[in-house]
């Protein structure tokens, strides 16, 4: 078993679908930060068989839970302070997401007016369907486009 040292302050994202941690690293813009990050791929998991884990040493308030909830609301978020887990945050599908994904509909106004915010609205929480606020085009699903 690979050992990665504990972090003193930051967050640990557990139960990431195996193979998705690197995408998540970029989606959370961790590549642009100065934080110390550990990416653990294909760790053994009783629940999932295999899973990925991200350990990030930084101010926990910098974590965008909406982005994370949209990407995969089954991820476990552990907030670490003083080397201990002080809080477990539940993720929810955000009602609206801004500037995370782009509308692919060539007929949508966002295809020609680049300065417009890319806004998607959760129209069916059960089926986890997001639609473009402007053209109502359906977002096909995060994992499928990756």
């Amino acid at each position: 078993m690979l050992n990665v040292g504990a972090i003193s302050e930051g967050f640990v994202l557990d139960h990431i679908q195996a193979g998705m941690s690197l995408s998540l690293y970029y989606d959370l813009k961790l590549d642009e930060s100065e934080c110390c990050v550990a990416i653990i791929k294909n760790a053994r998991s009783n629940k999932m068989g295999k899973k990925d884990i991200l350990k990030v040493e930084c101010d926990p308030n910098t974590l965008d839970l909406d982005v994370l909830g949209f990407i995969d609301h089954n991820i476990t978020v552990n907030i670490i302070k003083g080397g201990e887990i002080v809080e477990k945050k539940a993720l929810h599908l955000p009602k609206e997401i801004r500037n995370i994904i782009r509308c692919k509909n060539p007929r949508c106004i966002t295809s020609i007016e680049q300065e417009l915010e890319q806004i998607f609205v959760l129209t069916d929480p059960e089926k986890e369907i997001y639609r473009c606020k402007y053209c109502e085009g359906k977002f096909k699903g995060y994992k499928k486009v990756r």
């Binding site: 007929r107 949508c108 106004i109 402007y134």
Partner: protein, 306 residues
């Protein structure tokens, strides 16, 4: 301040009120002849349209108001690269209300977010066309006497036909509505209408390819044109354009009180021999369109006529 982006922006009660006002305008046009004196309607049409634009202009002129605007993107500052947001901010300084048609879906919504005056979506790409829906509802209400308990056949281009999408959205709010969706496989109603609208609200519907199979059960037949401008590929358009042609022989299969509606313009999907059939209601529909747009302008401008 209110805008109209989708037929669902009005509740059923508000729609009833609007249709009632439109009916009163039809009966007493002189009472409304000066209701909008001194008010201006801007018609911002980024793609060609004859009847929708003229219907809006006729509506405003009938109310004693005046109109200004443009009828293609080439004759507007859009050709210089101006955004919809900037254009509407400027138009807000010149007019009291704006009707906008745009080939890009969601453009009128963008305008409404930046506008200081009410914006009416006069058609945005293949997305919504709420004033056509108001026209359709008024036609059905006036000629059938009710908006519930109807089997409605929607025929033709159900994929890109925005009038069809808007009409489905509006009609599902009335009781006992059933749809027969008549289209070739390639032009079926989009998934989001089937899943999020029809299935979600448990509205009964069936999908068929042959118009003949549906005729006998319909109270309303809503024909649409296969629109060349919605296709990226000319070959696909040519293959689809003559798929349905309503003629006397097909009309013989229909109920005696069925109504044929069409948003117009038609090309060849309704044979001219059907025009004299008393069930052909599409030219009366165009007249109702003016009354309902008059009612809409009055409502959005909050003009009360005593």
């Amino acid at each position: 301040m209110r805008h109209l982006m989708s037929p669902l922006d009005f509740s059923v009660e508000e729609l009833d009120k609007l249709l009632k006002l439109a009916c009163d305008i039809e009966k007493n046009p002189s009472r409304y002849a000066n209701a909008c004196q001194g008010k201006k309607l801007a018609t911002c049409f980024y793609e060609p349209s004859t009847r929708t634009r003229l219907s809006f202009e006729a509506a405003m002129l009938n109310l004693g108001g005046s109109v200004l605007g443009f009828s293609s993107a080439d004759s507007s500052s859009a050709s210089k690269g101006e955004s919809v947001s900037d254009t509407i901010r400027v138009i807000s300084c010149y007019a009291d209300i704006c009707a906008m048609r745009h080939p890009k879906e969601g453009a009128p919504l963008v305008a409404s977010q930046r506008s200081a005056i009410p914006v009416i979506n006069a058609g945005d790409g293949g997305h919504q066309h709420p004033t056509q829906t108001l026209t359709d509802l008024m036609t059905i209400h006036s000629l059938k006497g009710h908006l519930g308990d109807l089997t409605i056949g929607l025929c033709g281009d159900l994929k890109f036909g925005r009038t069809v999408h808007s009409l489905i959205h509006a009609l599902i709010r009335y009781p006992n509505i059933r749809f027969v969706l008549i289209s070739p496989e390639e032009l079926r109603v989009p998934g989001y209408i089937r899943e999020d609208v029809l299935d979600k609200h448990n509205v009964p519907y069936e999908e068929v390819e042959r118009l003949e199979d549906a005729m006998a059960k319909l109270d309303i037949l809503y024909m649409t044109r296969v629109q060349r401008e919605r296709f990226f590929n000319e070959e696909d358009y040519v293959r689809m354009k003559d798929f349905y042609i309503l003629d006397k022989s097909k009309m013989a299969l229909a109920k005696e009180d069925m109504l044929v509606l069409h948003p117009l313009p038609r090309v060849n999907e309704i044979s001219v021999e059907v025009d004299d059939d008393p069930r052909a209601a599409y030219f009366r529909q165009a007249q109702y369109g003016v009354y309902v747009r008059m009612a809409l302008i009055l409502t959005l401008l909050e003009v009360e006529v005593c």
